[in-house]
């Protein structure tokens, strides 16, 4: 009998590793009876791991995740998505109004407003790093929901934002916003999302974690090779889009969904390798901002024993 586990996911291509591994039966092969649980946002997913409702999840490192790690509830065990030169990554957007007024490059961000969901979110981190790198100061507007941020950006009520390409590109296409830069120019090798699990699993169920990561990594490999290395050519991409369409933009017809899925392509970490430098940078940024306790160390946040670290 296979071991039952629950994996939390958002309906984003960044979670493709789980989807592909599941569809291709890698989890079953690894002796895992996997159930996918979908979330509207990353934050509840972290809490769900803490509550024991979900065994594994993939999400950005946020203040909430670090807090939960500090409370001994969750542990980062691998990398999922990272920025890589040469591959389309997260975009910096400017509203049309701000763009017309001269915000055509991140260097013009001084005194502008920058959208984020909440304080301590990855948007906060990115905006802050960009501003620091350009030596400008921006005001952050917490708007909770991605929808609200988009609305505010479109109507020119905030000036800038950064977001994954599959959301950024259609927005820019409509002319209401403009892409003014790439996040990867400011945060090299940014470990955008990570794989994490509960402290209990990480400490006491090493075998389980290993078999999960093993199966997950196979999915990642398939995805990368089809979408980024284009090993299967056009057909390989189409087959992969077909597969992912079950999970991403499932409520739209395939023709409409496909560009979104393709636009969202980013490289997932092979073997769930984790960029420790980036994680450490993020942790110290959160601490410097006073969003999380200054006593938290990398040991508390990360268990690096399962994957290759960079």
């Amino acid at each position: 009998q296979n071991r039952k586990i629950t994996v939390g996911a958002l309906r984003f291509t960044s979670h493709a590793g789980s989807f592909v591994a599941y569809e291709n039966g890698y989890f079953t092969e690894a002796g895992l009876d996997l159930e996918l649980k979908f979330f509207q946002a990353a934050q509840p997913m972290a809490v769900a791991i803490a509550s024991g409702d979900v065994d594994f999840g993939v999400t950005a490192i946020s203040g909430g995740l670090i807090s939960l790690a500090q409370k001994g509830a969750v542990k980062v065990i691998g990398g999922a998505l990272s920025e890589e030169d040469g591959i389309d990554g997260q975009k910096i957007l400017a509203s049309d109004a701000a763009f017309q007024a001269g915000l055509t490059a991140p260097s013009g961000l001084d005194g502008k407003t920058f959208g984020m969901s909440t304080a301590g979110s990855s948007f906060h981190y990115m905006g802050s790093k960009i501003a620091a790198a350009e030596g400008v100061s921006v005001t952050f507007k917490p708007l909770q929901k991605v929808g609200a941020i988009i609305g505010a950006l479109k109507s020119g009520q905030i000036d800038a934002w950064s977001i994954v390409p599959h959301i950024a590109k259609p927005l820019a296409g409509s002319g209401a916003v403009h892409i003014i830069g790439n996040v990867s120019d400011y945060i090299p090798n940014y470990q955008v999302t990570t794989v994490f699990t509960s402290e209990k699993n990480a400490a006491g169920e090493a075998d389980l974690v290993k078999s999960f990561l093993g199966a997950y990594s196979k999915g990642v490999t398939d995805y990368n090779s089809a979408m980024i290395d284009k090993a299967g050519g056009e057909d390989g991409i189409n087959a992969m889009v077909d597969l992912l369409h079950k999970y991403v933009y499932a409520d739209q017809p395939l023709e409409k969904a496909a560009p979104g899925i393709i636009n969202g392509t980013m490289r997932l970490n092979e073997g769930a390798a984790l960029n420790m430098t980036s994680v450490e940078d993020q942790l110290s940024w959160f601490q410097a901002e006073g969003l999380v306790d200054a006593n938290i160390t990398m040991d508390i946040l990360v268990n690096p024993s399962f994957v290759e670290t960079l």
Binding site: Q40, S51, D53, G64, V146, G147
Partner: protein
Amino acid sequence: MPETHAQPVPFRGGGFRPVAIRGAGLAVFASLLILTEWGTRSGWISALTLPRPSDVVKTFGELWSTGMLFKHLVPSLTRLVVGASIGVTLGVSTGILIGLFSYVRSGLVPLVAALFPIPKIALLPLFVIWFGIDEGSKYALIAFGTFTPTVVATYGAVDNVDRTLIRMGQSFGMGWFAIVRKIVLPGAMPGILSGLRISLAIGIILLVAAEMLGAEYGIGAYILEAGALYDLERLFAGVVILSALGILVSTVIGAIEKRLLNWRT
């Protein structure tokens, strides 16, 4: 001779008693819809501001024809029914105890007053820890949201039960339980039912908050997703469903009142 000055007594009564005018409500809805439709078509209402009503109807039609409507409605209704049942049952029981016992009253009324203004969405992260991300936390959130108003309505209703009726029961030698069952409960029923109107409206409102927590299907989840994608047609379609649900619930309670409380003058 006085006949020369005869004049009818002037009329000075009437008014202050609004009567129902058939179709006025419908007319208001219709004209609002037509106005928006025309405004969005002619362009002076931008597509960002309001969706075109006909597009909302179309979206609704798609929801219906793809069967997604029920896929979303059924879990939401289940959550509403289960959560509200728990909240209302506990609320009515607590309210009756508060209405009857000095210690319960003095101990719990301030607690309920303190719980009332707590926004349920603020507690979402805790609910996940307490009740999990599955149906449990959704039931709990709706139960919690319906509990406090039900308690307040119920003990108010028990307070309003005519004390002469209770003294009458005692004067006929009725026992404590018989008095509660035959006098207090039926006497409090009108107040409890009208409290239920409010509680259930709050329950419907909380569906959206509840379905923020890992719900795939459900009207609330549908609305949240539409909001996240800034898809106004779907957002409004969802809101219309909730609104219709609210009117439905209120109609059902009205019907129950008519049946159960036909003794009211």
